[in-house]
């Protein structure tokens, strides 16, 4: 099941913390980070340029609503796998993101193990 060619990963988060944590994750063998965006607008631009297979996205970002961003990414590439990261209290946003086409959900704050599990589950669909 392990992919020989690593999948291209784009990280959308306004802090570098998640990026560093993903790079430490065990799943990184199967992923290659092709870019990081700090807001929704940048994310769309970067997405069109790098054509990633997997996206992790913090839903609480400036510039563009995370939900809208999910919707636009899915419209550009329906097969993309999106892991949304959101606060536990904000289930409404998570539900909406999943409805709009996101494939996984990770609630903040999370442990490295939870991050790893969420990525592993997301990559099952790859």
């Amino acid at each position: 099941m392990n992919a020989v060619v690593p999948l291209k990963l784009m990280i959308v988060d306004d802090s570098n913390i998640i990026r560093r944590r993903i790079e430490r994750s065990q799943q990184i063998d199967r992923l290659r980070v092709v870019g990081a965006a700090a807001n929704g607008r940048e994310a769309i631009e970067l997405f069109e340029r790098t054509n990633p297979d997997v996206v992790t996205m913090d839903l609480t970002m400036p510039e563009m609503d995370g939900i809208e961003c999910v919707e636009r990414l899915v419209a550009i590439k329906p097969a993309v796998l999106i892991l949304v990261v959101s606060a536990l209290a904000d289930k409404a946003t998570a539900v909406e993101a999943i409805a709009k086409g996101a494939n996984g959900f990770l609630c903040k704050p999370f442990t490295d193990r939870q991050l790893n599990d969420a990525l592993a589950e997301l990559l099952q669909d790859a």
């Binding site: 539900v95 999943i98 409805a99 589950e121």
Partner: protein, 729 residues
């Protein structure tokens, strides 16, 4: 379970249909050959009857021929045997004709002898022999049969003589007799053989028919047995079905969770568990929509999220695990009208499962359980954890406080709390009464907060601060009612309990000798006090003020010292009020009066500011309390601006005020020059509290200030007896 029942049903229905087809096939299999056999048997019987009737006919014909010859020879009456001969020939002609005619002349359902002949090869041969033999026979008889007229001639001379025709007839008859004597046995034998063959055929067909009947009987018995079996099987399946339904009903009636199905239109199915009605306190659940179920119980936003979530569940794209992790109804707070207008809050947990039939999503199974006890327990646990933490904080705080001061604080606070409690209970109807009540409570709590701050009891200070926030929020409301005070009771109880737990802690620590039981034993906090501060007056008010000065100065980056005098002589009845006034005034002096050390140096002052607090007895049993700092003094411009900004006076009014009147604004409720409230100042209650306390004691307060040099508050208090009378009023 439900699935098993449905397959039992289709099997039960398939059985009778197959059985019906079987019965039909069986009927065809028996009836068609039976019908054919019966037809053939009928044909054969008809042929046999025909042949049997005519069996003696050749002999009769031969006899009649012989009789014709005899009569001719004896000149007898020849017409009678001739007639017999003709009739016999006709009969035999008829027989042969019927057995060889075209079968189409007979109707399908008529018995047809010729069909019987034609269906048997043997009979056909025999019939040919018969026909041939008869043809020969008939040919020999033809001249005799065709004879007409009289064979005799009657004359006188010779009597009766044969006439020429008679003679010819006699010759023909003799010839025919010769021919038929040889042919008759052949014809008789042929007829007998035809009859025998027909009999054999008939017997064979009868046997076939019997076999067929036997087979039909066997088949009918088998079908009968099958019918009985199916009936029994159906009854058993029916019983199983009833049993299964009863078991389902038992499960739904007993299970603690509320169970129901949601269809694609988010409607609740016809069946649900009995607990569901109990959980939702309604019985009209079947067929209503999920929205109707939740709408009266949860906020609009939760409802919308839940509906969206159910939509996501129907799209099979998302995995079950993922869906579970975003379930917005995992622990949802619902409130029910519990009859008498009051609300009952419970926590429900909704769990969703996809129900598939032949890998097609057909329903969502929703299970609902009441998790109120679990949630309450979790909350209590969190609370007690917090409490334990706060106890540790309290303990650490208490360990640093002088025991005598602490006891004095605790008893003062206890009294204050009782007073607040009494105020809350006091009936009030009008808006103004509510406002007065609020102000009084505020002052009490504020003084507790001040003292707690002075003692460094952060946990008490924090609670009092929260209480103040709640009070402030009420003060800002445009209209007040008695119900608004209810939350205060909870907060009061919290503070009260906390103070009680400190008391408890102090007495337990006393047993362990951590905190001295008598004032003369040095307290932990006292021992750690800076040695630089000269001879320490050993009274609780001075110590409180000392600590207050030290802490607030440190917090504000200022440098100041307290010069207390005569505070040990304050009479017990005044102690609390004097302490409250001094704490408030000293804090004000530190926050607003004393300048930064740098600023002071630049102004040619000593870097360390001085706050003087003096208490002394005066003539006629009165007292005088003076609080003075060598700080910046009062700035009339700032006072005016602040008073206008806080809506205490209008700018026109402020412009008309004389300097002395302007200073008195400091004592008005709500006055503050600080924009953001912190623990030390900014709520606009400080000097108002002082003024109110002085008023309660029937005292007077004076203020004087030199800009850039000092601020001095002078409070004159009457003798004790007067105060007692005033407090009672």
């Amino acid at each position: 379970m439900i699935k098993n029942v449905s397959t039992a049903w289709t099997r039960a229905q398939r059985g009778p249909v197959a059985f019906g087809v079987l019965v039909l096939l069986f009927a065809l299999a028996v009836l068609l050959p039976g019908f054919r056999l019966a037809g053939r048997l009928d044909d054969t019987a008809a042929a046999l009857r025909l042949v049997s009737e005519q069996r003696r006919q050749p002999d009769i014909v031969f006899g009649a021929l012989a009789s014709v010859r005899d009569r001719l020879e004896s000149f007898g009456y020849v017409e009678e045997p001739l007639g017999e001969l003709r009739a016999g020939v006709k009969e035999l002609d008829g027989l042969v004709g019927k057995l060889t005619a075209d079968p189409a002349a007979f109707g399908t359902f008529d018995a047809s002898p010729v069909r019987a002949v034609q269906s048997s090869a043997l009979l056909k041969v025999e019939m040919e022999t018969l026909s041939k033999s008869w043809a020969t026979y008939k040919e020999a008889l033809a001249p005799i049969i065709e004879f007409t007229g009289v064979p005799y001639a009657d004359s006188e001379s010779s009597g009766v003589q044969l006439n020429p025709a008679g003679r010819k007839l006699t010759v023909e008859a003799r010839k025919a007799l010769v021919a038929t004597r040889k042919e008759t046995p052949v014809l008789v034998a042929a007829t007998a053989r035809v009859a025998a063959t027909l009999e054999a055929d008939s017997a064979r067909l009868s046997t076939y028919l019997r076999f067929l009947m036997l087979a039909a009987l066997t088949g009918a018995i088998a079908l009968g047995v099958g019918l009985v079996y199916i009936a029994v099987a159906r009854r058993r399946e029916g019983a199983l079905l009833v049993n299964a339904q009863r078991q389902t009903a038992d499960i739904l009636g007993t299970v603690k969770e509320g169970l129901f199905l949601l269809d694609e239109k988010a409607r609740i199915g016809a069946t649900h568990s009995a607990s569901l009605e109990r959980l939702f306190k309604r019985s009209d659940l079947a067929g209503i929509s999920f929205e109707e179920l939740l709408k009266p119980l949860v906020p609009e936003k939760t409802l919308q999220t839940a509906q969206r979530f159910v939509e996501v569940l129907w799209s099979e794209r998302t995995r079950e695990n993922l869906v579970k992790s975003i379930n917005p109804l995992q622990e949802v707070e619902v409130s029910f009208d519990s009859g008498s207008g009051s609300q009952e809050t419970r926590w429900l947990e909704f769990d969703f499962h996809r129900v598939k039939n032949d890998s097609k999503l057909v329903n969502l199974l929703v299970s609902v359980s009441d998790v109120t006890p679990r949630v309450r327990l979790a909350r209590e646990l969190a609370e007690s954890r917090e409490k334990a933490q706060s106890q540790v904080d309290t303990l650490l705080g208490v360990l640093h406080v002088n025991a005598a001061q602490l006891r004095s604080f605790l008893s003062d606070s206890d009294a204050a709390m009782k007073m607040v409690n009494a105020m809350l209970r006091e009936p009030a109807r009008e808006e103004s009464a509510f406002r007065r009540k609020l102000d009084s409570i505020f002052r009490q709590i504020h003084s507790i907060k001040g003292e707690a701050a002075a003692l460094g009891l952060g946990t008490v200070e924090g609670r009092a601060h929260e209480f103040e926030d709640a009070l402030k929020e009420l003060r800002e409301r445009s209209a007040l009612s008695g119900g608004d005070f209810l939350p205060l009771v909870v907060k009061l109880d919290d503070l009260f309990t906390h103070l009680a737990s400190i008391s408890d802690l102090v007495s337990r620590l006393a047993q362990l000798n951590f905190v001295a039981t008598a004032p003369e034993a040095a307290a932990v906090g006292g021992a750690e006090a800076p040695a630089a501060v000269a001879p320490k007056p050993n009274d609780p008010i001075s110590e409180t003020l000392d600590q207050l000065v030290e802490r607030v100065a440190k917090d504000r980056g200022k440098s100041a010292r307290l010069a207390a005098d005569g505070l040990g002589t304050v009479p017990a009845d005044y102690r609390r009020a004097v302490k409250d006034i001094a704490v408030q005034a000293v804090r004000n002096a530190l926050v607003h009066g004393i300048e930064d050390p740098e600023f002071r140096k630049r102004s040619g002052k000593q870097a360390v500011g001085t706050i003087k607090v003096e208490f002394r007895a005066e003539g006629a049993g009165g007292y005088r309390l003076i609080i003075e700092d060598d700080g910046a003094g009062l700035n009339s411009r700032r006072i005016r601006e602040a008073a206008i900004a806080r809506g205490i006076v209008t700018s026109e009014e402020a412009a008309r005020l004389e300097p002395k009147q302007l200073l008195s604004l400091l004592f008005r409720p709500g006055f503050s020059t600080q924009d953001v409230a912190d623990e030390d100042a900014g709520r606009g209650v400080g000097m108002n509290v002082v003024a109110e306390l002085v008023k309660e004691m029937r005292g007077r307060i004076g203020i004087s200030s030199g800009e850039g040099r000092y601020t001095r508050f002078t409070i004159v208090l009457p003798a004790i007896a007067t105060v007692a009378a005033g407090a009672a009023a």
